[in-house]
Every structure is written in structure tokens, then in C-alpha cells.
């Protein structure tokens, strides 16, 4: 089990109904974690539209989850 902090923005924040949560999971990769959270929070955005940031750096969904990481799933952006 890994203990992680997940933070939500934009649509994900609204769908989850929370800004952040600290959870323990036994998922292997960030992709698996997104799928887990997707079914938990009924996220509507498919995984191929999501990027992941770990400790404020862009990362990859197929990488292994770091214990204690601060994780943000990033919906498509619309700056500007």
C-alpha cells in the first residue's frame, strides 16, 4: 500500500466534490490510479485526455507510483 496525496482541478474537482484527498492505494501506476479514482468519483474524462503531474513536474501515466507523492491529474488545459 502506498500513501499519496491527490489534488483536483477544474472539472475533476467538481466531479470529485473535493479539492484534495490523502489516500492509500495498492495501484501500481498512475494510470491505474486514475482508473481507480475514475470509478470512485465517476470522472467523465477518459484517461487518454489526462496528463499527470507528480510533485509539480509532468510525469507519465505508465510510471510506477512514488510513495508519498503529490499527484495531480491534469484535464485538458485552456490557458490564454
Amino acid at each position: 500500500m502506498k500513501s499519496i496525496n491527490v489534488q483536483y482541478f477544474a472539472l475533476l474537482r467538481e466531479e470529485a466534490g473535493i479539492e484534495k484527498e490523502q489516500i492509500s492505494v495498492d495501484c501500481k501506476t498512475y494510470g491505474e490510479l486514475y482508473q481507480h479514482l475514475q470509478s470512485k468519483h465517476k470522472f467523465t474524462l477518459p484517461m487518454d485526455m489526462i496528463q499527470v503531474a507528480v510533485n509539480d513536474e509532468f510525469s507519465l501515466l505508465n510510471l510506477e507510483i512514488m510513495d508519498g507523492a503529490r499527484i495531480v491529474f491534469i484535464p485538458p488545459v485552456a490557458g490564454g
Binding site: 489534488q7 477544474a10 472539472l11 509539480d56 484535464p75 485538458p76 488545459v77 485552456a78 490564454g80
Partner: protein, 463 residues
């Protein structure tokens, strides 16, 4: 200097920090909150930002711009929080000695911000519930629906079949440009394009994916970006390579259809042989002045192949190419469009017009001719018994850098100039403009027993 702020952007202060007597140009881009989007009346906007990452990424974008363009300074501020109509949401300013760099850098930064910055926008409307604005496609962030893109072709083709299709276009030149444009905009889901050439000023009159400002860049890179912008709903991949015996099978493997848009017989025959070996359909087109010919090869259909009529590959030197006989943009545009149309028919209906007959078009007389293809009985190529012969005549630039060799430019030299090197103690690497003529010259030297001659793959274009 990249900033995020929840307060109004102070234009005068921004400009003050950019002042510099060496700068001859200041270009400013300002993004405003407007009152409508996609038919809805917008009343205000709410920006949410992932601050730590946005600051890092924004700073990175500005560094990239400084690196890419010749700037004195570039700065940017992005708002977050609740913004009202007319508010400035983002401000980018670049100073440079000359205006061109400042214009380009400003454009680059705002485009990158749109793609990369973790900032999200919620639109509040006059008559409807507020909504997070997501780009439907993370490659381009366009706010359009895929169905609308193809709306006008829905009655004439199967979008689903096109989207599933996976094709390789060989050559991004005269034929390649119209073929790639038509296939991309029709919605062929996966398009790979392979070409080794760089863009020259003499390409542009017939290759409308390119323009004078990209002279010197790789065709595949520019073409890929153009096509991805043209249709955000497909996947385009570029391969900077020249098709040869060592890579042809790997390149065509797993594709539904190959489009031969090359300009020389050696590559055309190589592609053809490999397609028959791996049983992959191929549409091949060629141009000569106002004339063009086109043929579809479907190995499983038994309507003959080029080897039924040509046991050995005809020599390119006897034919010449576009450089020798001249070519018009209008002619390649017509031929490329017909080739793409044949491809679309094949991908959606498994049937097109050029499988059993070769089509000949003459645009000078606006006439056409169909000739039934010949099928030789017991043709081994038709059956897939094909040997792709390894070719050791060429070396590439990376190999060149590792060897001690004479390098001979034969562009302005006669055919027999290599005689002077028959007794050389080191290998002799020969190159011409694109490595076609030099390869023929090397082949000739090899047949005379001189094994130390090599041709540089891609020619001067690859140096």
C-alpha cells in the same frame, strides 16, 4: 519572467520592464474575455490554476522562446480567478532588434501557453449553466466537434472505415503534398509519412504544404505539423528517412495501404516488391510533364505486378526526373488528388478504378486511357516469392563521420570522374544532390571490380 496574478494586468508596468534602447520592436499579445463562444453568450470567465506547475512550465516556455528567437526580452503574465468581459486574461510582450523575431516569439508563447499551462477556464453564460471549457483534442485544443468537421462528406464515404485506416505515404513532395492533404482532411485515422528531403525554394511552386520561410527544414517535420493543424482528429507521424532495402519492410509492415509518391524507379520497384512480399496493397503514381499514370496493386487479387513485365528494375538514368523534364504544380495536384481519391475508395469500399487497368492521363489534351494489366502465369513476385536484396552501395552520414574516406562531390562532374580514384588507398564516398546519380556511378565502379566506392545516402541533402 513569467507571472500569475489574480489582479488586473498593468500594461504600462509590463512595457516599462521591457524598455531597451537596442530593441527596434515590441510586439504585445493580449488575450481578452469576449462575450460569446460557440453560439453561447458569455458573461464572465473563471480561471483556475495549478500554480506550482504553471510557474515552472510558463518559465520554461519563455526560455524556449528566448532560445528559439533572437530576443532582448520576453515576459508574460496570466490572470486567474474571476474575470469580466473585456478584462485582459493574458499578456505576452517580446522585444527584439527586428520585428520578425518579436512577432514569431509572441505567437509561439501564446500557442504554447494554450497547450501546456495547467490553467483551466470555466465559462459563465447569460442563459445557461456555467461549463468548463475543454479542448476536445489535447493535440490542438480546438473547440470543435469531429462530426461537424466531416459533415459535408458523410453521405459519400464511411467515416468509421477511414478513421480505422492506417496508411503510409512515401514521399512528401509534388504528389505527396496533395495526397497527404486530401487523406488528412478526409479523416484517414493514422497516416505515416516518410521522406528524407529538405525543403528548397524550387519545391514550393508545386508543394503547397511548404512556403519560403521553411526553406532548409525537413519536409516530414513541416508536413506533419501542417497536417496535424489541418485536421486535429487524426494521427500523423513523420519519418525522416529514405526508403531502402534495409528499412522498407519495417516501414510498410502492418499498414492497410501504401501510397507511392516517389519520383524514381528504383524506389518504386523496391516498394512494389516489398508490398508483394508482405501482401500489402499499394497505389503508385508517376508524372511526366503533362502526363501521369496510376495503378493499384492488390497482391491478393492476382491482377499482375510490375515484375510480370519488368524482370529487372529499369535504370533511372535513362528516364530523368522532375529536375530534368520539368513539372507543373497543377499537374501534380490533379494526379495526387486522383491518387488520394483512389485510396479513399479502396479503404472504404475495397474497390477502386485502377486495380485491373493502369490509367494514363494527359492534361495537355485532357484525355485518358485505360490499359488492362498483364498477368504472367507463374510470376514469383505475384505469389510473394520476393527477395529484397541488401544494398551495400550506400553509407549514411553517421557512418561517414566514423570513417577515414575521400569525400567526392560529383554534382558538377562528368560520369567518368571516379576513374581518378580507382587506386585510392582509402574508401571513396561519392555524393550528388540527393544520392541517386552518385549511387548509379558507384554501382558502375563496383561492376568494374572497384569495391572501395560508396555512395552517400541522401546526397548533399543529408550532409
Amino acid at each position: 519572467m513569467f507571472n500569475l496574478t489574480s489582479n488586473s494586468i498593468l500594461r504600462d508596468d509590463m512595457i516599462e520592464t521591457l524598455k531597451n534602447d537596442k530593441a527596434g520592436a515590441l510586439v504585445v499579445f493580449e488575450g481578452w474575455v469576449r462575450d460569446h463562444n460557440q453560439g453561447k453568450k458569455v458573461s464572465s470567465l473563471e480561471y483556475q490554476v495549478y500554480e506550482a506547475l504553471a510557474l515552472k512550465e510558463g518559465t520554461k516556455i519563455l526560455h524556449e522562446a528566448k532560445h528559439k528567437f533572437n530576443l532582448h526580452k520576453i515576459i508574460c503574465t496570466h490572470r486567474f480567478g474571476h474575470l469580466l468581459l473585456g478584462d485582459s486574461a493574458v499578456w505576452v510582450g517580446a522585444t527584439a532588434t527586428h520585428r520578425d523575431d518579436a512577432f514569431k516569439a509572441t505567437r509561439f508563447v501564446i500557442d504554447q501557453i494554450k497547450h501546456r499551462l495547467p490553467i483551466w477556464k470555466k465559462e459563465h453564460y447569460v442563459d445557461e449553466k456555467p461549463q468548463w471549457v475543454f479542448c476536445r483534442d489535447h493535440h490542438t485544443h480546438v473547440h470543435f466537434h469531429e462530426d461537424d468537421y466531416y459533415q459535408k462528406q458523410a453521405k459519400v464515404t464511411s467515416q468509421e472505415l477511414l478513421k480505422k485506416s492506417n496508411v503510409l505515404v512515401v514521399g512528401a513532395g509534388g504528389l505527396g503534398c496533395p495526397v497527404l492533404t486530401a487523406l488528412s482532411s478526409a479523416g484517414v485515422g493514422h497516416i505515416d509519412v516518410v521522406d528524407f528531403d529538405t525543403i528548397s525554394i524550387s519545391n514550393i511552386h508545386r508543394q503547397p504544404l511548404y512556403s519560403p520561410e521553411v526553406v532548409g527544414e525537413k519536409k516530414v517535420t513541416v508536413a506533419k505539423n501542417k497536417l496535424a493543424a489541418l485536421n486535429p482528429f487524426i494521427h500523423v507521424h513523420g519519418h525522416d528517412a529514405r526508403i531502402g532495402s534495409e528499412n522498407v519492410e519495417r516501414m510498410i509492415q502492418g499498414k492497410d495501404l501504401i501510397l507511392d509518391c516517389t519520383d524514381n524507379l528504383e524506389t518504386k520497384f523496391l516498394l512494389h516488391d516489398a508490398c508483394f512480399k508482405l501482401r500489402i496493397p499499394l497505389i503508385s503514381a508517376s508524372i511526366y510533364q503533362f502526363e501521369g499514370q496510376m495503378r493499384t496493386f492488390v497482391p491478393s487479387q492476382g491482377s499482375g505486378c510490375l515484375r510480370c513485365t519488368h524482370a529487372t528494375t529499369p535504370d533511372d538514368s535513362k528516364l530523368g526526373n522532375c529536375n530534368d523534364f520539368g513539372v507543373l504544380g497543377s499537374v501534380v495536384a490533379v494526379m495526387g488528388s486522383i491518387q488520394a481519391n483512389e485510396a479513399i475508395l479502396f479503404l472504404t469500399e475495397k474497390k477502386n478504378n485502377t486495380q485491373t487497368e493502369t490509367f494514363y492521363f494527359n492534361l495537355k489534351t485532357l484525355s485518358q486511357m485505360k490499359i488492362k494489366n498483364l498477368k504472367k502465369t507463374d510470376c514469383p513476385t505475384c505469389e510473394g516469392n520476393v527477395e529484397i536484396e541488401a544494398d551495400d552501395l550506400e553509407i549514411d552520414t553517421s557512418m561517414l563521420h566514423q570513417m577515414d574516406a575521400h569525400l567526392v562531390d560529383v554534382r558538377e562532374m562528368s560520369e567518368d570522374c571516379l576513374r581518378a580514384f580507382t587506386n585510392a588507398s582509402k574508401p571513396v564516398v561519392v555524393y550528388c544532390h540527393r544520392g541517386m546519380r552518385s549511387k548509379r556511378m558507384v554501382k558502375e565502379m563496383r561492376t568494374q571490380g572497384f569495391a572501395h566506392f560508396y555512395s552517400l545516402k541522401g546526397g548533399a541533402c543529408s550532409l
